[in-house]
């Protein structure tokens, strides 16, 4: 029966960057199905990279030629506004350089279905098997990130959340070395992620019950018009928050991050730590600013608590870590806390656009440095694959001063030392927060930064001021892709630290009109 459904109007032009990525993902699936095995990688690589670059070019074209749309697209389901375009650009840049890492051989398992240590696995390794499915999976995840950050209604947001997460769950389990750890990470991520998605869905249902719509703008106007069902709204918002906070890894939902970051193949970790975080913050901003902006007096205290807890947990727990990837994971948690400060610092329109611009800038700086840091991690290897344990990094500065120097530079950027991008990133978030009245948070942020600086410094000292172990790890000669990633990330970290104004201008422009509803 299906009563006549009107064909929706879809602004294909505006959505083209996203559609291009999804299209390339579908093409990737076809390549898997049709192309002979030995040709697949050779076809995947250009398709993937060109689609990401093309999508980025389309964004620029859109921004330059048509300006920023003032209406939500696709019947109000997707908002391609200034922040969305900026976040898309950031995600695509990060995805592109992460993809260069993913290209690297020797990161992914030869045959995921073979039991670790079994003869099947040996056969697969001997035959040089490789899962080229990684490419379309990653593209789906990236497409999901784009959609997640620009979804203008909760339903689309949930779909995007799943499109983004499901491939990542799978990709996490595909590490070539230490496969059990990788599989455990995948299962943990999946189970906890499924839980949090469930909460998100439940919250969405309750908010729908309150507002009668899942449209973010509609929810915002319902806040003013609907009365008497407040607790339904509060419960719904709390559940939505659980789902979103899980994705950004805010405490107390941070526990998965270290385990998953450690277990996942490092290129995937890089993609998650950069792209997913950016996308998730896009979604957090939309839900809490667009839909619940008028409810800020109610969510702000909770958000304060979450932000403080996140910063403190991230900074303190990082100290005892002995694994480089786990340490970076905690650092990512702490950075999520710093970003939350920006989310909290709302006020009038000018204040909001200041905070938003700060967050956008921070996301870019943090994302690029993160990918660079993980790229360095992939290069320091010993017999068992990557040398994850920190003690193995002792004296790296003596063996390969350049690499250790670059890594130290990334760490200083994480710590927010001046003349690195991290400094202006932190500044960009903290300064509007001060003027927005979140002084207490900034104080906690600064203290956490100091604690965080402590463990970054410890790693630097370890690398430069210790004698290298006799059987220390070797620094793998990087592939062109990895070398490019490290170079790009280091260059961006320097340039954004010394001459940030052009990018700040861009973030400002993107943030000036705030989100469309």
């Amino acid at each position: 029966m299906n009563g006549a459904i009107e064909a929706p109007t879809i602004e294909y032009g505006q959505l083209m960057p996203m559609l291009l990525v999804f299209g390339a993902a579908v093409v990737g699936v076809l390549i898997e199905a049709l192309a002979p095995r030995y040709l697949r990688k050779a076809i995947h690589v250009p398709v993937t990279l060109l689609s990401l670059a093309g999508a980025f070019a389309l964004i620029i074209l859109q921004a330059v030629r048509d300006g920023v749309p003032e209406q939500a697209s696709a019947m109000g389901a997707i908002a391609v506004d200034g922040p969305a375009l900026f976040i898309w650009g950031v995600i695509l840049v990060l995805a592109f350089i992460s993809m260069l890492l993913i290209n690297d051989d020797d990161q992914f398992v030869a045959q995921a279905a073979a039991v670790p240590g079994s003869p099947e696995e040996e056969d697969a390794v001997a035959q040089g098997g490789a899962h080229t499915e990684v490419y379309p999976l990653a593209l789906f995840a990236i497409g999901g990130m784009l959609l997640f950050s620009s979804a203008n209604d909760l339903l689309i947001m949930f779909v995007a959340l799943e499109v983004m997460s499901l491939p990542l769950y799978l990709l996490c389990g595909l590490a070539r070395r230490r496969r059990l750890l990788s599989q455990e990470a995948s299962v943990k991520y999946f189970l906890l992620g499924a839980f949090s998605s469930g909460f998100f869905l439940y919250g969405m249902a309750l908010v729908y019950g309150f507002a009668g719509t899942v449209d973010l703008g509609g929810i915002s106007s319902a806040l003013a018009s609907v009365g008497g069902q407040d607790s339904l709204l509060y419960i719904g918002v709390a559940l939505l928050g659980v789902g979103l906070f899980f994705k950004i890894g805010a405490a107390p939902f941070q526990a998965w991050k270290p385990d998953v970051y450690q277990g996942a193949p490092t290129p995937i970790t890089a993609l998650m730590a950069s792209g997913t975080l950016v996308a998730a913050f896009g979604a957090v901003l939309r839900v809490f600013w667009v839909a619940l902006g008028n409810l800020d007096w109610d969510w702000r205290p909770v958000m304060w608590a979450v932000a403080i807890l996140t910063m403190v947990v991230g900074a303190i727990l990082a100290i005892t870590q002995t694994d480089i990837k786990r340490m970076l994971a905690y650092s990512s948690i702490a950075h999520a806390g710093f970003l939350l400060i920006g989310v909290i610092a709302t006020g009038d329109a000018e204040q909001n656009s200041g905070s938003l611009s700060g967050i956008l800038f921070y996301l870019l700086t943090y994302g690029i440095t993160t990918v660079g840091a993980f790229a360095v991690v992939t290069m320091v290897r010993d017999a068992g694959g990557e040398a994850g344990h920190l003690s193995r990094w002792a004296g790296l500065g003596k063996r390969s001063p350049l690499l250790a120097g670059i890594f130290a530079f990334f760490l200083l950027a994480f710590a927010g030392i001046p003349l690195t991008s991290g400094f202006f990133g932190k500044y960009a978030v903290f300064a509007p927060a001060v003027s927005g009245g979140a002084l207490g948070l900034v104080v906690v942020g600064v203290i956490s930064s100091a604690v965080a600086a402590f463990f970054y410094v410890r790693v630097i000292v370890l690398m430069f001021f210790s004698e290298p172990a006799a059987d220390g790890p070797t620094v793998a000669l990087p592939s062109v892709g990895t070398a490019a990633v490290v170079t790009i990330a280091a260059a961006a970290t320097v340039v954004l630290g010394v001459f940030p104004q052009p990018v700040l201008d861009l973030a400002d422009q993107a943030a000036s009109a705030l989100f469309i509803r």
Binding site: M1, L192, F454, V457, F465
Partner: protein, 948 residues
């Protein structure tokens, strides 16, 4: 432009430094010294204008977004600091040329570059006219000093000192940045000159100043941050001479001097600065008195002097500021000279321990003279600049007994350790042979120290000239009662008497230094630092152990806790509770609910996997019963069937898993988990209850009867599936199929094998390894059986009863499923339920006859079933499109057929048939993959075990 060039020249020299030193050897330091020397000369040339009140400025936009600019400004204070930084820098670089001569040092080029870079950063710091720019230079000095301190990096002590130094100063720096941002926000600009011209007040300013002070005090090594400086003395002596006498530690002093004119009277400023300064002065001097390492003695002396400087420059009166500037110059000159002297001694004798030095006065007379001159200035003896400064200080603090008393005490101690330094380094000690001097210092080695010591004398003599020099800075303070110009001789004044008293007391202390008790500051900050560090470490350890043990239940607990606190809290605090809650609708309900709860509890308590699965199945069945009780037989039926098929799938897989669960958690944890689970369940149930009770709109389901009627049926569940939401069903069918393919793919690892028929059987199926073989009689073996597949079974596995029952029940079950399929539109049933019934019939055949029986029951592969099913579903959708122009448009046919009578047929039944086929295919897949394939593997493994 000059100010910019001064900083840039250092940057260029820093980059070129390694190359220069590599090329020219240690003489390269001379070339490098030219850069700060040139800057000093430039400053001297620019000085007259600056003193007249025309500061040298240069500014360019940097990040207009935040109002941050590259602004440099050299006013009087800046000029003075340039003299200190660049002048002493040039001398120390010259000194390096000798200090490093003769001994090969690895990485000396890098050292030279970093040293010059440090000098440049320091210069930028004192010239910066923008708070953020100042912070940038501030952190740069931290980073460079770190590299310099860690130059002898291999030693463990060196490493620890470097870490301590950078942690303390970086943390302080971050606090200071916070203060700067607050200050800038309050003032609306980061331009320092603008802030000082119109200081903001009230609001956040006191907080900002407190944070800035934390940064300044930590950088200048004041109590309570003083412990990092002596620890950092592992650095080469030139580094100590520069960083810890003239440059880095002066940064904090400089900052205090810079901000005092505007903020000395704001709440926390003066008390904090004076208290910390006095405490530092006394503690530092006291500890200096007890050191035996000359360099450490100077280090503690530096700590002490820095405290003194902070008191003066932060005091906020004209007289104190004047005294402070004089002392700043004095300190830079004598302390750098003394450090260099220590380096000379170290070089000449190979030791810095005063217990091993004796009689150097005779062996190194020139050195001794230089040291004596510098130490005299340190002790505040006339006619040196140290004396002038101290006199002025005593005068300035008159009327403030606390500050004056502290400064007097500190000065007396200073006199004592100055004397002890001289005696320790050069004096002849009883019972000690004169120390052997291996390399007597050349003139060039001693010259820098000599120049600085002489500068102390010249400045003392020319003290009146300093009044004009400092006027522009000092004039920013309000005039006070003690404003007297600097001079060597003021007449017989109280400060003169105080000076005499200090010198006398100092001399006495020096004589009796052994009886000075080893002083332990009750709040030993270094101890505090270690306690904090250890505490943070331990806290991190504990927190990691507590929250991050990699255990999924633990992670889940923290997520559930948030669920309980946030939505649970919202629910409890204001949940709209329904007014009329009836405990049950049907009397049988409580019994069923009790059964479900008991089954759930039992599932948790089961030690065996199989038992847990069965219990979970019972809980599911109970839920299905509830559906039936509530008048939804269709849902109930579907749920019953699903539970059954799931149970079968579970059992098939569980064969490959250990029978019992692995490690059980300890009882306490299980209780906690149980509490969490129950609480989470209650919250979710409560939320559901609350959500239902606030309904204001008419339920969608009110429209269902109409919708069903329009669709030509009466069973709304089925109509919703195949008609109202046919699109969904189609998608779900596809998803189900994909999931099945995925599971199958995981088990086979490749394509499904071809359908095995009875003829393919290779050996007895399900044989129990080790069981006695039962030989069947010949006649029995050839006789017809109830199920053909059963012939392949191992005899001990056969059950005649089961075979007969399966044979008899199979076809009735198929008929039942056909009935369910066709009746679905009007009464309970439908394609899904029908498919499950067929699946169960197949399951029965498999269980009774083994894996070869499957193909006998249904000679179709699961792929065929699924494919045809999905094709039918899609086809009916397309047919709707072709016929009525709308996808999935259904049609109703009513006809009278012979034999069957009145027939009511809707095309949605065909759609349902497609669903049926998909479901059958999925069940078949489960049976073949989890059943037959696992059977095959189990048998193969047994064979391998048997043959091996």
């Amino acid at each position: 432009m000059g100010v910019l060039l001064a900083v840039l020249a250092h940057a260029v020299a820093a980059v070129a430094g390694p190359w220069v030193v590599r090329r020219c050897g240690v003489r390269g330091f001379w070339w490098l010294a030219l850069v700060p020397a040139a800057v000093t000369v430039w400053a001297a040339v620019a000085a007259p204008g600056v003193i007249e009140g025309r500061p040298v400025v240069w500014a360019a936009g940097w990040i207009p977004e935040y109002g941050v600019s590259l602004a440099l400004r050299m006013d009087v204070l800046g000029l003075l600091m340039v003299f200190v930084v660049a002048g002493v820098g040039a001398l120390v670089l010259g000194y390096c040329a000798r200090y490093f001569a003769g001994t090969p040092h690895r990485g000396l080029g890098g050292f030279a570059g970093v040293f010059v870079a440090f000098a440049g950063a320091m210069l930028g710091l004192v010239l910066a006219d923008d708070l953020i720019l100042l912070y940038v230079f501030w952190e740069l000095t931290t980073v460079f000093s770190y590299l310099l301190i860690g130059f002898h990096a291999e030693e463990r002590n060196s490493r620890r000192a470097a870490i301590t130094a950078i942690i303390v100063t970086t943390s302080g720096g971050l606090a200071m940045l916070g203060g700067f941002v607050l200050l800038g926000a309050a003032a609306g600009t980061y331009r320092i000159s603008a802030i000082l011209a119109a200081p903001p007040a009230g609001g956040t300013v006191p907080v900002a100043l407190a944070l800035v002070l934390v940064g300044a005090l930590s950088k200048s090594a004041l109590v309570p941050f003083h412990f990092w400086l002596p620890g950092a003395m592992a650095a080469p002596t030139p580094v100590s001479a520069y960083l810890h006498a003239a440059a880095m530690v002066k940064a904090g002093v400089y900052l205090i001097a810079r901000l005092s004119p505007a903020f000395a009277d704001v709440a926390p400023w003066r008390p904090v600065v004076v208290a910390a300064g006095i405490a530092t002065m006394v503690v530092g001097a006291w500890r200096a008195l007890r050191r035996n390492d000359l360099k450490l003695m100077l280090a503690f002396g530096t700590v002490s002097q820095l405290g003194f400087l902070c008191v003066l420059l932060g005091y906020g009166t004209r007289a104190a500021a004047l005294a402070g500037l004089a002392m700043t110059m004095a300190h830079a000159a004598f302390k750098a000279a003394l450090f260099m002297v220590v380096g000379v001694i170290d070089h000449a004798t190979g030791t810095r321990d005063l217990r091993r030095l004796s009689g150097l006065r005779r062996a190194m007379p020139a050195t001794c003279a230089v040291a004596a001159l510098a130490a005299a200035s340190m002790a505040g003896l006339p006619p040196l600049i140290g004396f002038v400064g101290k006199e002025a200080a005593f005068l300035a603090l008159t009327g403030d007994p606390v500050a004056l008393g502290g400064v007097l005490a500190g000065s007396a101690l200073t006199v004592a350790y100055s004397a002890r330094f001289l005696w320790g380094a050069f004096g002849a000690k009883e019972g000690h042979a004169p120390t052997e001097v291996a390399h007597p210092p050349g003139a060039a080695f001693l010259a820098p120290a000599g120049l600085l010591a002489a500068a102390g004398l010249a400045l003392g003599a020319g003290a009146p000239a300093l009044n004009a020099f400092t006027a522009a800075y000092v004039g920013r303070y309000p005039p006070g009662p003690h404003d007297e110009p600097l001079a060597l001789w003021h007449g017989l004044t109280v400060p003169l008497a105080e000076s005499a008293l200090v010198i006398a007391a100092g001399a006495l202390l020096f004589r009796r230094w052994r009886s000075v008790p080893a002083f332990r500051f009750p709040l030993d900050a270094e101890h505090g630092y270690r306690v904090i560090m250890r505490g943070v470490d331990r806290a991190a350890d504990q927190a990691t152990r507590f929250t991050q043990r990699g255990s999924l239940p633990v992670y889940l607990r923290s997520i559930l806790l948030a669920l309980l606190l946030l939505p649970g809290g919202a629910l409890v605090s204001g949940g709209p509770w329904p007014h009329d809650v009836r405990p049950w609708q049907v009397p049988a309900e409580p019994a069923v609910v009790a059964l479900v709860c008991a089954a759930a509890l039992a599932a948790v308590l089961q030690p065996r996997r199989l038992g847990a699965v069965v219990c979970a199945g019972v809980a599911g069945t109970g839920t299905a019963t509830l559906y039936v009780l509530y008048g939804a037989p269709d849902l109930g039926l579907t749920q019953f069937l699903t539970e059954t098929v799931t149970l079968v799938a579970f059992v098939l897989v569980l064969r490959r898993l250990p029978a019992r669960f692995g490690e059980r958690q300890v009882a306490g944890i299980r209780v906690v988990n149980a509490l969490f689970a129950v609480a989470a369940g209650l919250v979710v149930a409560g939320v559901a209850l609350a959500a239902v009770s606030v309904r204001t709109a008419v339920p969608e389901s009110a429209l269902y009867p109409q919708a069903a009627e329009r669709a030509g049926g009466t069973n709304i569940v089925n109509i919703a599936l195949v008609d109202l939401r046919a699109w969904d069903t189609m998608g779900e069918s596809a998803v189900l199929l994909v999931a099945a393919v995925g599971v199958v793919g995981l088990i086979y690892g490749r394509r499904r094998p071809t359908l095995p028929r009875v003829g393919d059987a290779t050996g007895p199926v399900w044989a129990i390894p080790g069981a006695p073989r039962i030989e069947e009689p010949e006649a029995v073996r050839d006789a017809a059986t109830w199920l053909r597949g059963a012939e392949t079974l191992s005899p001990e596995r056969r059950s005649i009863l089961f075979e007969v029952a399966a044979r008899l029940l199979f076809h009735p079950m198929l008929v039942l499923s056909a009935y369910l399929l066709f009746s679905g539109h009007g009464s309970p049933g439908g394609g899904f339920a029908a498919g499950l019934v067929t699946g169960l019939a197949l399951t029965m055949r498999y269980l009774a006859g083994g894996r070869y029986e499957l193909a006998e029951a249904l000679p179709l592969g699961p792929g065929v079933c699924q494919g045809i099913g999905l094709a039918v579903v899609a086809g009916i959708g397309l047919a709707g499109l072709a016929i009525s122009g709308e996808v999935l448009r259904q049609a109703v046919l009513d006809a009278r057929l012979p034999l069957l009578g009145e027939v009511h047929f809707t095309t949605s039944t065909i759609f349902d048939a497609g669903v049926y086929l998909v479901v059958v295919g999925v069940v078949l897949d489960i049976l073949r993959a989890m059943g037959a394939e696992l059977d095959r593997r189990v048998e193969r493994e047994h064979e391998e075990v048997a043959t091996a």
